[in-house]
Amino acid sequence: MTAEEKKQLTIAACKVRMGVIEGTHGAKAGHPGGSLSAADLFTYLYWKELNIDPKNPKWEDRDRFVLSKGHTAPGLYAALANRGFFPVEDLPTLRHIDSYLQGHPNMNTVPGVDMSTGSLGQGISCACGMALAAKKMGKAARVYTLLGDGEIQEGQVWEACMFAAHYKLDNLVVIVDNNGLQIDGAVADVMSPYPIPEKLEAFGFEAARIDGHDFEAMEAAFAQARQTKGKPFAIVMKTTKGKGVSYMENQAGWHGKAPNDAEYEIAMNELKAQLTEAEGM
């Protein structure tokens, strides 16, 4: 990865984070914590990894992304808007009664959303169905899905993992956002999913362990995913919940709470400073 590429990704990620704050502040609700922990991943996927066309969101041969942890829609929407799927100005309408930006992703209202999700544990199964169909249809499309580390407490996730390995879905990449927190507290305290990569390996995946805020690590992991044949690939990324907004970082309380006006100002000022710093990289 060139320094310029890294700079552009860093700039884009700042804008995605600002979009998360704009969205959840405008909604007076929503899930900023997990949107921010996955913001770098959303950025990497939509700016570098996915074969997509924002002008033609329904392009049949595009790669698919399923946000299995659907509550972090503010992060996905911010990435899609900044990537040109719809106007960034619409982000603050999130969750409003007349907005197409539903609280959880709706594939029929939001350009660029490939699957309606929100009920945890189901998106990964949908992604498996897409990957299987792509193979059957002779499409080169690859399928990516992002899960939360709390989400993998759902038994269906492991049904899907069995399916993915059984049908050798090597066009599928399952990403787990290991920010360590869920609504009731630390995932390790609520219902430990650990060890995550070892579980996925036992289920037949090839698994990479990365820092989820390191674009170069993502580049290496996604390259490894493309080279892996005959089995599905998993990326377990360690992240910081609320990453980029000081008072939200590592706070379970910011899982599903919106910033008020004063908090919005603080968050946007911090992110603007990060953006300025990135532009000077």
Binding site: R64, N106, N108, G129
Partner: protein, 311 residues
């Protein structure tokens, strides 16, 4: 009835899938370790590369089917009604119903005629569950000819469809040469003026038999096969109620939430008419031979005749 050909509609389903698969490359079939019982095994034998066993994981299967539909294929996903509509309800609701994806659910072993397996496998709640999902088509055929036509109609329909098929063999009474099936249209099998009997599934044959017996007793019964529970043929329901003034509904389902309540809903709002609902009276089934169970739970021509005479 001894000389009448009898076929279980689950067999019709498997055979129709195979015929459909020959015509359309985009048909794929998912099953959850029950291919021999749901009869998707018939399709599997013909098209092994388009049949995917999901193992005993119905929730995953439904969402996998949703993903395949989102890619443009036409998946048929099968299990017993108990697990397709019951176990996987929330996946059907959120991953298929909410995005209105083109998944066809072929649920076999509906109702108490499952027999010896007992209450755990006798699903009498599926119409209620599936009817409550916006945009879901809910149907159950009365015989082999209708079941096969229904599978083809489901393929042509754009959007989610739930079809319930039976385990037990039922008489074949439709003529395959002339029968045409339309989703959402009821079928008048017998004209009458005193009471309208609206039935579906294996209760249709019982309703027809009841119609004959009632005629012998001087009661003119209209008999309607209402294969589509949703969208309900409201026009026909109202017309039948207007003509007969009394309605009996018959279904192998809890009287709560199924065909009977759908008919009552229409009539209560548009043409208040006395209705008697024949079905499972909000209780669990139990083990036993299918025929004996149907009698024990009041699902027979005899019970329909009694109901007709007791208005």
């Amino acid at each position: 009835m001894a000389d009448v050909k009898k076929i279980a509609t689950r067999d019709s389903y498997g055979n129709a899938l195979k015929e459909l698969g020959a015509l359309h490359d985009d048909v794929i079939v998912f099953d959850a370790d029950l291919a021999a019982a749901t009869k998707t095994g018939v399709f599997k034998k013909a098209y092994p590369d388009r049949h995917f066993d999901c193992g005993i994981a119905e929730g995953n299967m439904m969402a996998v089917a949703a993903g395949a539909a989102a890619m443009g294929l036409v998946p048929f996903a099968s299990s017993f009604a108990m697990f397709a509509a019951g176990r996987a309800f929330e996946q059907v609701r959120n991953s298929i119903g909410y995005p209105h994806l083109n998944v066809k659910i072929g649920a076999t072993h509906g109702g108490i005629s499952v027999g010896e397996d007992g209450a755990s496998h006798q699903c009498c709640e599926d119409y209620a569950l599936m009817r409550s999902i916006p945009g879901m088509v809910v149907m159950s055929p009365a015989d082999d000819v209708e079941a096969r036509a229904m599978v083809f109609a489901a393929y042509e329909h754009e959007g989610p469809v739930y079809m319930r098929f039976g385990r037990s063999a039922v008489p074949v009474f439709h003529d395959p040469e002339t029968f045409r099936f339309t989703i959402g249209k009821g079928e008048v099998l017998r004209q009458g003026t005193d009471v309208a009997i609206i039935a579906n599934g294996l209760m249709v044959a019982e309703a027809v038999e009841a119609g004959k017996r009632l005629e012998a007793e001087g009661i003119s019964a209209m008999v309607i096969n209402m294969a589509t529970v949703k969208p309900l043929d409201e026009e026909l329901v109202i017309e039948a109620a207007k003509t007969c003034g009394k309605v009996i509904t018959c279904e192998e389902h809890n009287i709560l939430g199924g065909l009977g309540e759908a008919v009552c809903g229409v009539l209560a709002e548009k043409l208040p008419t006395p209705v008697k609902r024949i079905g499972v009276n909000d209780e669990f089934g139990h083990s036993g031979p299918a025929g004996a169970l149907l009698k024990a739970f009041g699902l027979s021509a005899e019970h329909i005749v009694e109901a007709a005479k007791s208005f």
